[in-house]
Symmetry: C3
């Protein structure tokens, strides 16, 4: 099941210094490494510790290419990335064989690709499409008309409401809910009572998105909620109706995004951030943890970190904190 | 399956200008409207766009009743509300036929009303009561002795702990947990270890409440947790033990309400608000997103918005922010 | 099914004043007490109300030992704790008989202790170990190789990813997800795209931990996530990868703890607290609700309450708030 360093180097774009024929079968941290494992060190500082670990070989950066190493080194310009790719390569083929569990309920009209897996007690409703090699865990519910691409992985107890369109290579962790009704009501001014505004729009999730455990993504009210290619969403995140999230956006745990807000490509959002409705976060902006963006606000600044509620550039916020602390000490 | 404009106007309390016999079968946004759809515009500003859409007819306000329209108009005093009601009317009868899936486990002592639906792999424990036309989605667990009224809808993978009492017309979204143990422990001062305080009270949810995906509502410790008629709760909200929520309260996503707090009728709570224990939010107060209410605090003021942590009237809070920004710029 | 006051007094370490042969069968609040119930009052103030309740007997503190009571009293140094223990004692044996539901899917290689219960539609994967008297609710998924000790209780729709190690006496509420992938990616600087960093570490949960509904706990990336003995975690809490939580820690609802942070023994964390990555909260510190701890910060101070973002000792924070309010009023 292992790979030679030569095979790995070729796959991840690294260069081997030392014995190319050494075989590794997994990746590990320096502390937990066994003799069959590959480890990595970002820079020279941890290289001696890596050499003292039980690991078979070490991925590291160019700074170490002249190091007189007692273990083979794989030299990469992005050693952390090379390590991530090596891990992915070594985990290939470790999945169980594809299998539709006999307790799964699959509607006769559902269309299943090649090598699809469906876990115990899952339900696949009418007109669902599952692409090749997609895996649905146990206890999932995939609603009517949901379309899912190839090589997706849905862990246990995931719920997808009817009509969602999901690309390929998407990973959705346990307990996540996709395509739920948005939070939209109309108050009858005569009675003060709320009546439900229609929540009948779409949810589109593009390729290679990953969504964390127990996160919730509402579908559009009348239009669409969209999560762009490659975006990564952590646990317990809330995405409201009509939200448009671009490509390669990163959203940490427990952040909430209210209706109709837009996050452009490459935005980075810390944990517990609150984004009100109709906000626009422009490409490359960074929102610090727990910051809050008020309604209709536009956040602009490539690489600029915003912090606080209401969020402002972190330099301003830190200066305010310093001024306030000084005044309180008088 | 459609309705004439005349039928809709009568049901939603609007007046038709133009051909009353036109039939519509759904609602849509201006962008997504098809020729069989009804759309709405709040005011005159979007009326030209609505007329250029493919929609069959337009719901709008009194301001437009003299507009020389090329499509039939339904004139309403509350056009958004009329649109919501039209959508509800047009979606009637679109549900699948009632059916208890053969894989559902229903205890012999459970009492099922007329036209009840129970999804695949759900479990209905002993002495559960389900009212007429109530629908339980797939993968739900309804605990011992739970009483549920008529016309409720529980989406997939919902869990209800034993003994909860739920009214009629209640909607609970996927993954929500109702009636779980409150967070109550007693610290043994001799050992510093925590032991569980009994969490054996009730959960009462009144008619027409809606609860979002993956929200959690704890039952009372010894007494009751209650959510009043018509209250709407968004996704990932936490309601602690012994909390009393009044009628027509609106609570946005990721808000948390600690033990024994009271929210009176008509309170509006933004997203990610934190309400500590034994707080009272009086009728008509509005809590801005991410605000925090400390223990035992009373918040009073009909229509007043509170913001910040600790929450204060928004005018004060904004003034403080302005003063601080000015000082930091010196 | 009841117990005499004499039996209860012996079990919880209290002393009976009055008729020791009185039998009680449950606990209750003063408001809800029935004639078979035991109630408690912390101090003398509520004793008259307790005597007017329907309760059979009252647990109370030493201050009341000379009170001329019309009902039997159980005198304890820690009356709240004695009440909690009495409740636990009286609830013993109220569980349903152990039973593996025929719809549960249990892999032939799983090892089940004595008197194990497994609910309907649960799946127990290969090489899972369940200790004596452990109860798995309906709709749970226990992944490959998970080890669970004795007397645990997993409520409905819980998901445990492969390989987690869980001690004895652990309670996990409905919808919780344990052992999910951490949020770790490497950005390819050439393309700006994120690739998954391996999330293949362990999750270890020690004895007597309780985890609330819909909370999520990620396993280690390469190493371990650990939750120490006796720690109590509320609903909708997020624990990131490689987090180390000590013993007897209390974490209120909706708090999030980012990767590699450490919470030492006896830490108390309020609701909606945000703890960034690589933080250390030293033993005995208290984090107020909604406070935020920035990356790599060390929080030190036994019994000191920290508040605000970034968190500072509450005295400082309150002084800053007061200064700011004063300036804004000028």
């Amino acid at each position: 099941m292992g790979k030679t360093l030569s095979q790995i180097a070729q796959a991840v774009g690294a260069r081997v210094l030392g014995d190319e024929s050494v075989v590794v079968s997994g990746v590990a941290s320096l502390e937990s490494a066994k003799p069959c494992d590959l480890v990595f060190v970002e820079d020279g500082r941890n290289l001696p510790a890596a050499l003292q670990s039980q690991a078979a070989a070490i991925i590291t950066g160019k700074a170490n290419e002249n190091y007189n190493s007692t273990k083979p080194l794989l030299i990469s310009e992005q050693p952390r990335l090379a390590f991530a790719r090596a891990a992915a390569l070594l985990s290939l083929g470790k999945c169980a064989d594809p299998w539709v569990h006999p307790s799964a309920i699959v509607h006769v009209s559902a269309s299943l690709g090649k090598n699809v897996s469906i876990g115990a007690h899952s339900t696949i409703d009418e007109n669902v499409t599952l692409g090749d090699e997609t895996r649905i865990g146990p206890g999932c519910h995939i609603g009517r008309g949901v379309q899912i691409g190839a090589r997706c992985s849905f862990l246990a107890n995931v719920t997808i409401y009817p009509g969602a369109q999901i690309g390929s290579g998407v990973v959705v962790h346990a307990g996540a809910v996709l395509g739920s009704d948005g939070f939209g009501y109309v108050c009858d001014t005569a009675t003060g009572r709320y009546e439900k505004f229609p929540q009948i729009g779409k949810l589109i999730i593009e390729d290679n998105v990953e969504i964390g455990a127990n996160s919730t993504v509402d579908r559009g009210a009348l239009d669409v909620t969209r999560i762009g290619r490659g975006t990564k969403i952590d646990n317990l995140v809330h995405v409201g109706h009509n939200v448009l999230i671009g490509e390669d956006v990163v959203i940490a745990a427990q952040t909430g995004i209210s209706g109709s807000s837009v996050l452009e490509n490459g935005v980075i959002v810390g944990g517990q951030v609150g984004i009100a409705d109709h906000v626009r976060i422009e490409s490359g902006a960074i929102l610090g943890a727990q910051s809050g963006i008020p309604t209709k606000k536009i956040i602009r600044g490539k690489g600029v970190v915003f912090w606080g509620t209401p969020a402002r550039p972190i330099r301003e916020y830190l200066k305010e904190l310093a001024v306030l602390a000084r005044l309180a000490k008088k």
